[in-house]
Each structure stands twice: as structure tokens, then as C-alpha cells.
Amino acid sequence: MKSIRIQKLVALAAAFLVLALPVLGQKHPRELPKPPALAFKMEKPVTFTLGNGIRVYYLQDTELPLVWVLGYFRGGSLYEPAAKVGLAPLMATVLRTGGSKTRPGDKINEELEFISATVEAMDASEFMSVTGNALKKDFAKLVEVYADLVMNPAFPQDKLDLARNQTLEGMRRRWDQPMQVGSFLFNEKLYGADTPYGRRATPATLKAVTREDLAALHQRFFAPNNLMLGVAGDVPLDQVKALLNRVFKGWAKRKVELPEPAPLTERADGTIYYAYKDTPQANVFLGHLGVRRNNPDQYKLDVLNDIFGGGGFTARLMKELRSNRGLTYGIYGGIFADRDRGPFQVASPLKAAQLVEALGLIKGIIQDLQTNLVSDEEIETAKNSIINSFVFRFEQKNRIMSGAMLLKLRGYADTYYDTYIDNIRKVTKQDVLEVAKKYMDPAKMIILVVGDEKKFEKPLSSLGTVKPIDLKALMEAERGPQK
């Protein structure tokens, strides 16, 4: 160990001597010598398939005595019946809290928490994840409980009631914070309340869910051939193989059908929505539909997004609205890809007394990107930032593994990361202009504002026709008669 380090030291000694020369006074970073190139290899997980079709990802990490287990089943809230929206997140919660047919949920709680292990399930709309982690000495125990839960969940009524009651309370409280209200209203207007992307669970749809629904949804998605299962940590491959073969034995393949939801259609038509709430800022969402994944323009869009609104303080939105004008604490925006078309959106809590001015600035930034080439410095910074920070994707091994799994799950090629840097390098200023024109249409953008119009410098109607949204009425309709 020691000798290897000394060899490395000698190898780098020359460069180091140069760096160590004394300087007089502080200089600008551009005067520093160009740093040596960074050498790193992209690690990839080992993959193999069990007899019953479970696709396994494995990456060893011996640094700490820890182990992570990560499973993804295709399926999720995208496939829920419209009358039972909220079913998939409930199923995920009760899968864990309800325990299995032979291990009551409360007993699992005791066992896992005593050894500081966790297993949790979540809905992620197009897939459901079940994740676990433990100290390596408890690896077998963890995997046994994990397998039992995903194969044999009990879904008891009391835990369904608990999960539902908690979710209902969350719904009562979702009107409390203006950005949260803006976010769900914007999704509804952008995607449509009648689509799986834009609808939201209500007390009525939650109350319609039965234990049988949970079991049926589980039966539909949780099949071995529909599971991508990752193991990372301080456990050897042969031990992982033996254990997985044992615990998942007898779990038979089944046909899993996941019909694609109807494609989204653009509804944005420049409408301005205003929802009154007694709150200090004007909470704003703007946008229309964005793009699907695996769009050939993805690399151009990544660079555009960095310049427009994703790249922290070097992005135009942040630079102009926060840093130059002090109109907000935070603003982001971009053209995003999803399973169907993601959003093109800008979101920010803005200074109420200068709302109309701020909206004008945002539109101006979009129009400028559609009219003029970005500067050399901007495109260089965006590309350098994406390329030079790429190494951080490989900082933690469990994240290398989950990254590889998600890539597959989302339909990207296994070689996506291998060619990513080269693809970013190829993007030109012309490309950025071209995609800004192609994917942004400021005239079509929905503008949704949650706030108090009395605090704005001008009424919103100075910008066009305004459709009011009555939050109080919506809230009361959702809750029904109280007490």
C-alpha cells in the first residue's frame, strides 16, 4: 500500500515542483498553469439474469462495511385507474408497513430498526422502487426480508387505513404553501386533468382504494421478469448470486402488460391563470410542453438549459432576475425530457411589487435566445461545466449502479455515458439557437401566478386575458362538508 503511494508520488513529482514555485501577490485564476488532464475510468456494474428473469446489477465497494439493495419494477401511478388515483403510492407504503404473509409489518420494523437496516418502497410514476440498506453483517437478513416483502406482501386493512389517513392529512395541507399550490395547478393546466401526468389524487379517489386494489396492482407489476435488482457494497459476487438464487426461488415468471398511456397533446395557449392567496410573493410558473427522452437534440438542449436556467448563477435567469435585479431568491428553468413530453418551464417566487417587470424580463431572455447567438464565453462555460463535472457521476459506487439501472429503465443506450462528453463537445452556438427556436414558444406559454394581485405593480390583465382560479372553492370542493 505504502510503496504504491510512493511510486505515485515520484511519478507526479515533476508537475508538483512546478506548482510549488512561489508567487508574488494574488493572481487571477486564469494565470494558473493549465491543470494536468484528469484520468478516470468509468466503472460499470456487472449484470446477469437469474433463472426467473430478474435482471441483476452488481458493483463491489469494499471501502465501508455497508450494502445497498435497489430494485425497480416497471409500472406505477401512470397505470392507475382514474377513479383511484393515489393507489400506487398507497400500495408502495403498505407493501412495507403491512409486512408479508409470515412477517407482520410491526415485527419487521422491530427487526430492521434494531440493526439499523431499512427497506422502503416508493412510487415513481413509471416504475416503483424498493430500496434497502444495512451493515454488511446483516446482508442476508436484509435480503430475506426484502424478498419476502416484494413477493408476499400482506396488505392488511389497518395499515392501508393508516397510510390513507396520513395521505388525506397531507392533502389538507397541500394548500398551505404557495409554491406547492402553484406546482400542482401548473401540472394540471400543462398536461390536462384527464391525463395520468396532470391529474392528482383527491380524497375521493383515495377513499375508493381497497386492499384488493393494492393486491391487484402488486400482482400486476411485481413479477421477477419485471424486476431490475441492484446490489452494491462490501459483499462478494458469489455470495450475492447464491443468496439471490435462494431467496427468490420459486417466484415464477408472469406476463406483465404495461400499455402506454395516450400521448400528450399541447394545451398551452398563452392563458394567464391567477390564483389569489394571501402570501408575500408572486409565485410564478410559466411554460408549455417540452420533449420526450432520447430526443436526438438532447445534447443541444442540455447546453441550452445550462445557459438558460439550469446552470446556477451562470444561467441567464438567475443572473438577471436574482443577481442583477434582486427580484427573487431563486429561479430555474429549462426544456426537460420525460417518458412522454416533459415540461418546458420556468418557476420562481418573485418580488410581488415588480412582478410584471419580472415576467417581461423572463420573456425577454427567452426571445433573445431565439434571436441571437449566445456568446462564446457562455457556450464554453456551459460545455466545460457539463464535461468537467462529469466525473462526479462516478463518485459513489451505489450511485454508479443506480445510474446505470435508471439509464436502462428510461430507454437510453448502455453506451450513453461513454459518448456523452463527445456529444456535448460537438454542440455549437448555432445548435443552441436552433433548439431555442424549435422548442420554445413564448406566445404559447401558460402563465400561472399564485399570490395577491393588490401587491403587484400592475394588474395581470395588463398582459392579457386572465382566468382566475378560486383556491378556496377548489379546496372546499375537495374536502367536502367538514365536521
Binding site: 512561489p22 422491530e110 392529512e169 435585479r325
Partner: protein, 502 residues
Amino acid sequence: MRLRQRMKSCCFLLTLALAFGLAPLLGQSLEEKVTVHALKNGLTVLFGERHGAPVFSTMYGFKVGSVDEVPGITGTAHLFEHMAFKGTPVIGTKDYEKEKVLMEKIAQVGREWSLELAKGERADKEKVARLRADLTKLEQEQKQYIIKDEIDLIYSNAGGTGLNAGTGTDQTMYIISLPANQFELFCLMESERIRNTVLREFYTERSVIQEERKQTTDAVPSRLLNEMFMGAAFIAHPYGNPVVGWASDINSVTLEEAQAFKQKYYTPNNCVLAIVGDIYPERAIPLVEKYFGDIPRGEDPPIFRTEEPKQLGERRVRFEFDAEPLLMMGYHKPNFPSKEDAAASVLAYILTTGRTSRIYKDLIQDKQLAVSIYAGSASPGARYPNLFTFNAVPRFPHTLEEVEKAVLEHVEKVKTEPVTEQELQKVKNNIEASYIRSMASNMGIAMTLVRYQLLFGDWKLFLKYRELITGVTAADIMNFAKTYLTPENRTVAYLVKKAKAS
């Protein structure tokens, strides 16, 4: 999809409890990985070697937070943290000499304007408008010399991620992660910022913080409740002030006041730097010496005087807001590294952490009075005696009164029945495991090192923390509860829904 937004949050660091113990074997291996280097000017540098991916993370902290502020300038520690992103005479400018002349004028006009604003209702509106207009003109003129946010620009080009900072009650922390070949850039940038931060665009940034306060406190029921609660729990000690500052102070604090605050506290002798990742101390130390070594040592920070007087009776706060009800409760207690603090930390865990905790099982799962109840043992900071707290979110139609009563029943039970050995062992197992997990990231390690070295004078004190936790007995917890969790030592705050929504 890349979403990166720097949230210079005032609270993301301060809420981290001292929840790290240490497994014996790992302790040894961490000690092997850590190298301490003290500079002559008082700066302590801690290196943690982790040769995985070719990256490193750094965090440095100054022992200054909102607790060091006095009335009239609350929020200044946080405001200065924002200013530390505005550059130096070398970074962020095209012509510093020309800029300097303008900045002197800006300081003067800004001061007059702020002092007039501070008169509130009695302010001369015409004068305010005239000074504001003059200030805007000067700021416009300065823009021709400014390179916007060049610190961000340089780090973005270098592949830096997570450039950020956070101010808490006790400390102010700065963070950045970089590829391993950018170590010298890091040294140049950060030594330059510590030495020479220029308060460029001060009055624009003050506006940003006005919006930050509205966004993160005034519009957020739980944060507003926390502010009301702390203000009542502390009548003398500055732990009662919000980190972000009171609105009046944010609206009128001047550039000179921020500069003076910086001078007092932003000294190398009040700073700890941790660098963790793919770096070799023997090669890094000369560079650290070269860049940070000649920053002049400062005066020792002013001594801290105010002690919170013993609470003589229960305090209750109740306010209306356009949101569903929330509850906060707390009791004064001694801070780290006392035995009482360790007992409090174990008790908080036993009461509310996990699905097997007492209050979760009884009040969330069985009686379903609330959807969440969390106990904390080190609010709102750890440098001075602090609070044992409960935060509760009731479930409709259950009331705040019902939830309060039910939580208090659990508090009373701890005073009469010892906690079980099983409960104690569970906490100890989890504290050890959470320590191991915190070692899984460069930034996690850096944070632990800086916290203990900066606030308590020695990074190895987190060994002491584990010792204290391991030593906690059922009797210690009972004694703690009997002594501190008493009605006269209690503050209770209710957020209630506005009777009639406007």
C-alpha cells in the same frame, strides 16, 4: 436533466444534530486518514484521504453565526455569507481601481438611504426616493466594470459542483467539490475570498435576501412557527433571533456594518478548513501554506456575554396563519459535550425516531392523533445551552391541545419508568451505523471534521460524543427528564388556522 440551483439556505446546516458516534475500528481507520495541519496565522486545516474517484470536497467554516449578532444587525452573518460570492479585487472585476471610486460613493449614498429607511413611518419619502435613484445610477455605472458572478463562472468551467454556503446560529460554512486536478485553483480562489472579499452589489443582494426571507420564512408555516417559538423560548440569548434576520434589519443594514462584522469574525484564527477526497497531504500542504499562510491573523473574536436566565414559568405563543395547525414545544437544557446532552439525544431517538419509537407507535400509528412528531435535542444550535424540542403536525380533526397533552403523557412516563435495555441498545446500534454511513461521502466527512474542530476545538471530540452516548443509562434519561422536562422550563407555540380566510 440537470437541475442545479444554489440555495444559500440559512438552515440546511444548522439543523444537523450531533448525531455521529464512532465505531471503534472505524475510528482508528479514520484517524489514519486524517492529517491535521495548523498554519501560523491560526487557520486549522484537516485533510481526509479517500482515493476513490479523482475528486475532492472541501468545507470551511468560521465560528460566527446569528448568535454573534446584536439588535439592529440581525441577519448580518447570513448577509455577509451572500456577499462572499461577489468577488475580490482580482476576481469579478475588469478594473478594480475605477470600481473602487464608485463603490465608495455607493457606500455613502447607500448608508444615507438605509438610515432614512430605518426611520420607518417617519422616513422622508422624497428623500428615500431621491437617494434610491442616486444609488441605482451609481450601481448602473459600476456594472461596466463588473464580471458577473465570476466565482461561479470560474468554478463552473473547472467542473466544480455544489458551490454553496450556509449560515446557522453557530457557524457559517462554505462548500465546493472539484475534480482532483483543480486543487491549486481551489487554494487560490478560497484564500483570495477569505482575504479580500469585496462587498460588490451589496444593496442588490440585500433585496435578494428580503425575497429569501419572504420565500423561506414568511410563506412557510413551519418556519414561521419556529421563529415565533424561538423568540419566546429565549428572552435574552441571541438564539432567539432568526438566522435570516428580522425584516426591518435586513431592510436597513449598511455595507459598513457588514464590513465591520466581517472584520471581527472572518479571520484565519476563527476558521477551520477540511479537504477530503483524492488528495495527498504531503503535496497539498505546501500549496495550502503558499496561498493561505500569509493571510494576516486577526484579533480574537469578541467574548460572548449573554446567558439565558433560568426560565421561571411556562411560556405560550399562539398566532393565526392561513394554514393548517402546527405545534412546537421545547425545554432549556445543557449543550454538548455534557452528560445531559447525551441523555437528551438518546431520549429524542427513543421517543420519535423510526416506526418503533414510542410516540410514533402510540400517537401516529395507533391513536393517529398526528401525522408526524419529531423530537430534537440540539435546537437551535450547539455552542451554547439549547433546547429539547418537539415539532408536531396534527391530523384532522384532532386538535393541538389533544396532541400536546398526548406528547406530555409520554414525557411524564419517562420520568417514572426507566427506558428498556432494548431501546437503549437500538439507539446505540443506529448511532454507530449512522457514523459509518456518514463516511460514505467526502462532504459528509468534511462536515463532521469541521463541525467538531470549529465549534468544540478538536475534531476528535466526536469520539467523545460516542463515549457519552454509549455511557447513557436508563437512570440518566430519567434524571434528565425529571430535571429539565418540567412545566416551568417549557415553551409551547401554536400555529392556528385563521378564523376567517380573507
